[in-house]
């Protein structure tokens, strides 16, 4: 994907660029609102990461002009303003999604994937190595042996499997699996316990481990060491 990152903080911008490049995206950086505005007119992008607080031209202005020109490029807004009004304002101005700073990188990747995948059909059968998940029947098996999972464990495994090969943060799990809007310490502990139990069922009896912890970031399902 060709992604434009409009972000004035150099460290954040550089980290975003590197991280996205590593994921195989092509990234253009704009340090000011003007620059971003100019680049948007000159090239075509598949996605824009837009910081709302910018020197020069304000992020929201860019967004509104972009939408006025009927450009439908998906825009993911990054903001440190954590108030409902700002969210509504951002979405009303034509943003497709938003992330509040500080955000976790895996979360950003997940949002980008979600935006690029919009409208695409969902998979009903997931396979990772010898793990087999049937989403419709809500059944999972490893090496042909059915796994006895609780409802929550299944949802967790499905979510990890859908994101397989990519790190999933606790925030993402809280929001997408537990459907909790606010992330609180107790919930993190709950997530950890569930992961531990899931591991006991999915990984413990087998040689190859599929669920891995990425310290300080979250969890990843993949075949082999992280």
């Amino acid at each position: 994907m060709h992604i434009l990152v409009v972000e004035d903080e150099p460290k954040v911008a550089q980290a975003l660029k590197e991280g996205l490049c590593r994921e195989g995206h092509e990234v253009a950086l704009a340090r000011t609102g003007e620059e971003g505005y100019y680049l948007l007119g000159a090239q075509s992008f598949d996605l824009v990461l837009l910081d709302l607080m910018l020197p020069g031209r304000n992020g929201l202005e860019i967004l509104t002009t972009l939408r006025k020109r009927d450009q439908t490029t998906p825009v993911l807004v990054l903001t440190a303003r954590d108030t409902v009004e700002d969210r509504v304002l951002g979405l009303d101005s034509g943003a497709d999604d938003y992330l509040i700073k500080p955000f976790a990188f895996p979360e950003l990747l997940a949002r980008i994937r979600a935006l690029s995948r919009r409208g695409a059909a969902e998979q009903f059968r997931l396979r990772i190595a010898d793990l087999d998940i049937d989403v419709v029947a809500r059944a999972a098996a490893r090496a042909g042996r059915p796994l006895e999972l609780t409802m929550r464990e299944f949802q967790l495994l499905e979510y990890l499997a859908r994101n397989h090969g990519r790190v999933v943060s606790r925030e993402m799990l809280a929001r997408d699996v537990w459907k909790e809007t606010a992330r609180a310490t107790p919930l993190d502990n709950v997530i950890d316990v569930h992961i531990a139990r899931l591991r006991r069922k999915v990984d413990d009896p087998f040689e190859t481990k599929l669920i891995h912890t990425v310290r300080g970031v979250g969890f990843i399902v993949k075949d082999g060491a992280p």
């Binding site: 954590d82 500080p102 709950v190 316990v193 310290r215």
Partner: protein, 462 residues
């Protein structure tokens, strides 16, 4: 216009009002006195004339020339009394000499009553009061008698009073006004002192108080009320200061960790796995900072009066949802998490916010009570209140800490803080969440018998 004319000082305003009211009262009083005096003086005069009339009636004698004379002499000193006598045919029979031929009442008229009293002014300008009557006198003849007396004396008396009042009242008003102005000044002086003192009190000397000069009057009351607000202000300033200090401490701890872990790792070349370890450890601290900032933001928005979206919910439902979320944690410690109670207790609450309070209480119960002990969540109704109790068999909260456990960053056991205790914000978030719904949260257990946290909310009917 009235506003523009309003004097700037309360003192002046008070005095002006005082003078206005006082002059109205005095004017009324003076008018009543004058009227009363006029009436009573005239009545006295009338009585005198009546006596005089009867005396004249008795003393009238026929004279040789067919006219009449008064037996005895006119009292020469009393030149203020006048007598005139007419025959029914209109012939003048007698007239006081000092009338100097001026006509007093005139000859009889056909419509004349037997007795009448009138006032009129003599040609010389003397105001008179006159009694007229038709009488049969000793000689057997019928005559018309006029007896009059000058009103000058009583009018003079009345005028003197009028003059006295006209001079005295403004003087009295002036004195009263000056006195009132002085009194108002005296009464308002403590107010001025209080204002000056209050002006001196700033954030730096909030411990100072206004002097309470007389505790029982209005000004004393004002000073006390003001001092009470100062007290609250001082308290919240103190809390804020403590909070800022605590918050920076809480932020500094993970920042120090990040810094030292990073610096140490960079001192020498490391294996990639070791770097990964180091970065992971730093990210964990970052996560802690982020979460702390999240909680602080939540609380600061709570302070700013975050809008709730209340709906009628069954408290048992809220308790069950909270317990369901944390059940697995209790299970890990073989604790039995029991939710019981009355499903018909309803309250008007924002379920998400209230659930956060209950979740934090249950989380604490799970965390601080030993493995294998039961945790009981009970919902019931107590009069107009819905009650949620969260009880555990843990060590309980020592009496000394109870008043402070709901404060931000307060921890009962400072040593076991960060690893399992979080940032010490859970209970203050819980308290905010409950109080925002008009309820309160308290610790009801006795020391050594575990903890019972009680949430009380105003119950509603479904």
């Amino acid at each position: 216009v009235t506003l523009a004319l309003r004097p700037a000082h309360v003192r002046t305003r008070l005095t002006l009002w005082y003078i206005a009211v006082l002059s109205a009262v005095l004017a009324l009083y003076a008018a009543a006195t004058l009227v009363f005096l006029w009436v009573s003086l005239r009545r006295e005069l009338d009585r005198g004339i009546h006596h005089e009339f009867e005396a004249v009636e008795d003393r009238l004698r026929p004279a040789a020339d067919g006219s009449m004379r008064l037996e005895g002499h006119d009292d020469p000193s009393d030149r203020l009394k006048f007598v005139e006598v007419w025959s029914p045919e209109g012939r003048l029979l007698y007239r006081s000499a000092h009338l100097n031929s001026q006509q007093l009442g005139g000859p009889p008229r056909p419509d004349m009553e037997r007795t009448s009293v009138t006032s009129f002014v003599l040609q010389t300008g003397v105001p008179l009061r006159m009694r007229s009557g038709i009488r049969d006198v000793a000689s057997g003849s019928r005559v018309l008698i006029h007896v009059a007396s000058s009103e000058e004396r009583f009018r003079h008396e009345w005028n003197e009073l009028l003059a006295g009042l006209a001079l005295g009242l403004p003087l009295a008003l002036g004195i009263a006004g000056a006195g009132g102005y002085w009194l108002a000044g005296r009464a308002l002086a403590p107010l001025g002192r209080m204002a000056r003192q209050a002006e001196r009190i700033t954030a730096d000397n909030l411990q100072e108080r206004l002097p309470v000069e007389s505790p029982d009057d209005e000004l004393g009351h004002l000073a006390r009320v003001f001092n009470k607000s100062l007290e609250r202000l001082e308290e919240s300033f103190g809390q804020l200061r403590r909070f800022t200090a605590d918050a920076s401490h809480e932020l500094r701890t993970p920042l120090t960790a990040i810094r030292s872990v990073g610096e140490v790792a960079l001192q020498a070349d490391q294996e990639p796995a070791r770097y990964r370890e180091v970065i992971g450890s730093m990210l964990e601290e970052v996560d802690r900072v982020a979460r702390l900032v999240d909680s602080l933001l939540f609380l600061s928005r709570a302070d700013a009066g975050r809008a709730l979206r209340p709906q009628v919910h069954s408290l048992l439902d809220v308790a069950q949802a909270s317990a369901a979320l944390l059940e697995i944690l209790a299970e890990e410690k073989s604790q039995k998490l029991d939710v019981t109670g009355d499903s018909t207790v309803f309250a008007n609450v924002d379920a998400l916010v209230l659930r956060q309070a209950v979740v934090n209480l249950i989380d604490n119960a799970v965390k601080f009570s030993p493995s294998g002990t039961p945790i009981r969540v009970e919902v019931r109704r107590d009069g107009a209140q819905g009650v949620i109790d969260v009880a555990d068999r843990g060590p309980g909260i020592p009496e000394a800490h109870r008043s402070r456990v709901f404060e931000r960053f307060y921890r009962v056991d400072a040593a076991r803080s960060r690893e399992d205790g979080g940032a010490g914000l859970g209970l203050s978030i819980a308290r905010w969440a409950v109080e925002a719904h008009g309820g309160r949260i308290e610790i009801v257990s006795r020391e050594g018998q575990g903890s019972v946290f009680r949430i009380l909310l105003p119950a509603v009917e479904r």
